[in-house]
């Protein structure tokens, strides 16, 4: 059985073993330019709301 590359770090320390690691899909979304362009708009809107609520 081969270990999935993105899960390999679970075995590297007890601390790592108790957290979560992103899978291929999550990593893919982080670098997908089209999805990230959409997230860029969403994050900016959210940040602007936070800024407007803070003044």
């Amino acid at each position: 059985m081969s270990t999935r590359k993105e899960e390999a770090n679970f075995a590297k320390s007890d601390q790592f073993n108790l957290t979560m690691l992103p899978g291929k899909f999550a990593i893919g979304l982080r670098t997908c330019k089209i999805f990230q362009l959409f997230r860029f708009v969403v994050i900016n809107i959210k940040m602007l709301i936070v800024v407007s609520k803070s003044h």
């Binding site: 770090n9 679970f10 590297k12 320390s13 601390q15 790592f16 108790l18 957290t19 979560m20 690691l21 992103p22 979304l29 982080r30 670098t31 330019k33 990230q36 362009l37 997230r39 860029f40 969403v42 994050i43 900016n44 959210k46 940040m47 602007l48 709301i49 936070v50 800024v51 407007s52 609520k53 803070s54 003044h55």
Partner: protein, 489 residues
């Protein structure tokens, strides 16, 4: 004509000065007293620290900007405040000592009608044995707190990468250099930039990277952590941060007070009272912050520093400093107007104001060593508070003493934080976070203390692009270029 003096020209002081001058116009005088000749966009020092930006890209000279804005600029450090004047004169004044070339050491008295203290922190390297002397960085570690420090860090890091390339295994240690540090975010961003650059340089396998911090848990960030909505769950930043570290194979030591730094080795004490040592080939440890050491005197020359300043050197404002035990802490303890309770013409903003207490849960080891982050007051809150304080002072000047003061409580204010690694447009990644409010309000938001609709975090290219844009936007704004007021703090 009234005179407003702003001590400090960092994010908060510069924001206060530029807005005050804009609102007051030529009818009143605005003076900035700062020992620095350059303005520094500190968040981008991280990129300087890994050689991806130059010092010149994150700094610019203050003199031409203040000349354009018609702000009187004194390159000097404030030494003392005399709020009641002197024996033969009731007019309030401060004393300053010039740091400008050709005038170094010269002193002057400057009268004021209103005073804003935005002096920022003293980088208290001297608080940890071996970390440095006073506010000077020592020889064993590096820092990214100033552009010069970051440039030095970059050169030292280059040597580490060169050794790793030559086949010599290297160990990097990044984090906080004392049990009472703040600014974990800067160290957090730096460690991931190092990891990114090491990978890019093809030496990641030859470098062990470790995090050491005074946080009781990873993801505390000096704010007691935060909860964010991910995949339909409200999850703790602990899980978010631990995942980031595990994904990048960066091990961690938390709840640590670094007690001593030697060449290639640190000594630390943990929250359980145990002690340990950690070796390193390269280490960046953030120092604790303290007030800059301003003194205050009454008319007779008696020292009244303790009346105006808290023991840590930060200026007392309208906070509740007698909240007592953690169980009694409330969001309402946090200041709203930043007006000094003794002298109503004196305000503090940014790091210079004394917080009522920390935000994170107070912790100490069985040996009595306090090990907990102190509250972050940098970045967005710093700018917002600077603007609110400037607004209050301008209203007091133009509308009179009965003018209503503007408010900017950190318990009603959010903050955006982008920790980005890498510099390329498409090969970087960032953890983008917002938190609302910065100081949790458990009465308003039972459970997490925060509004989880506006407290979120996510990882990806999008945040990285935002970090790039923020760099250019804030430097543009600080240069008071056309439309600068449209860019929010």
């Amino acid at each position: 004509m009234s005179r407003l003096i702003i001590m400090g020209g960092g994010v908060s002081g510069h924001t206060a000065a530029t807005f005050a001058k804009k609102w007051l116009g030529d009818k009143h005088e605005v003076i900035v007293v700062t020992p620095n000749s350059q303005w520094n966009w500190i968040p981008s020092n991280i990129w300087v620290g890994v050689g991806q930006m130059t010092k010149e890209q994150v700094t610019f000279p203050l003199a031409p900007v203040y000349k354009k804005a018609k702000i009187d600029y004194k390159q000097a450090k404030a030494v003392s405040i005399h709020p009641n004047g002197k024996a033969d004169n009731d007019d309030a004044y401060i004393t300053i000592e010039y740091t400008e070339d050709g005038k170094v050491g010269q002193t002057e008295e400057l009268g004021y009608d209103y005073l804003i203290n935005a002096t920022g922190p003293k980088l208290n390297f001297g608080a940890t044995e071996g970390l440095g002397e006073g506010s000077n960085l020592g020889e064993h570690t590096v820092s990214v707190c100033t552009a010069d420090h970051a440039e030095h860090a970059s050169h030292e890091l280059e040597k580490i990468f060169a050794k790793a390339k030559a086949g010599e295994r290297q160990k990097i240690l990044v984090g906080t250099g004392h049990g009472m540090c703040t600014c974990q975010g800067a160290a957090f961003e730096y460690i991931f930039n190092i990891e990114h650059e090491a990978k890019k340089a093809g030496v990641r396998d030859m470098i062990d990277i470790k995090w050491i911090s005074n946080e009781a848990f990873l993801g505390d960030f000096g704010m007691g952590g935060l909860h964010m909505k991910v995949g339909g769950y409200a999850v703790s930043s602990k899980l978010f941060a631990e995942s980031l570290f595990a994904e990048r194979n960066v091990d961690w030591i938390i709840g640590a007070h670094v007690s001593k730094v030697e060449a290639g080795n640190i000594h630390y004490e943990l929250l359980d009272g145990s002690t340990g040592e950690e070796s390193f080939d390269f280490s960046m440890l953030i120092p604790p912050f303290a007030g800059v050491g301003l003194k205050a005197y009454d008319k007779a020359g008696e020292d009244i520093t303790a009346t105006i300043f808290a023991p840590n050197g930060f200026m007392k404002v309208d906070a509740n400093y007698s909240a007592g035990a953690y169980e009694n802490w409330k969001a309402s303890d946090w200041p709203r107007t930043y007006q000094n309770p003794t002298f109503s013409n004196m305000f503090a903003c940014g790091i210079a104001f004394a917080p009522p207490h920390i935000i994170s849960k107070p912790m100490s080891s069985p040996n009595g060593t306090p090990i907990n982050p102190t509250p972050p007051r940098t970045g967005m809150p710093s700018g917002i508070i600077g603007k609110a304080v400037a607004h209050s002072v301008c209203d007091l000047i133009t509308k009179g003493d009965s003018a209503k003061l503007h408010e900017a409580s950190m318990a009603e204010m959010g903050a955006a934080c982008v920790a980005s690694s890498g510099k390329g447009v498409f090969n970087g990644t960032a953890a983008a976070m917002t938190v609302y409010p910065v100081v949790p309000d458990f009465e308003k938001y039972p459970g997490t203390g925060r509004d989880t609709d506006y407290t979120f975090g996510e990882i990806g290219l999008a945040g990285h692009w935002i970090k790039h844009i923020l760099h250019h936007l804030f430097i543009y704004k600080a240069k008071v270029k056309p439309g600068w007021t449209l860019i929010p703090e």
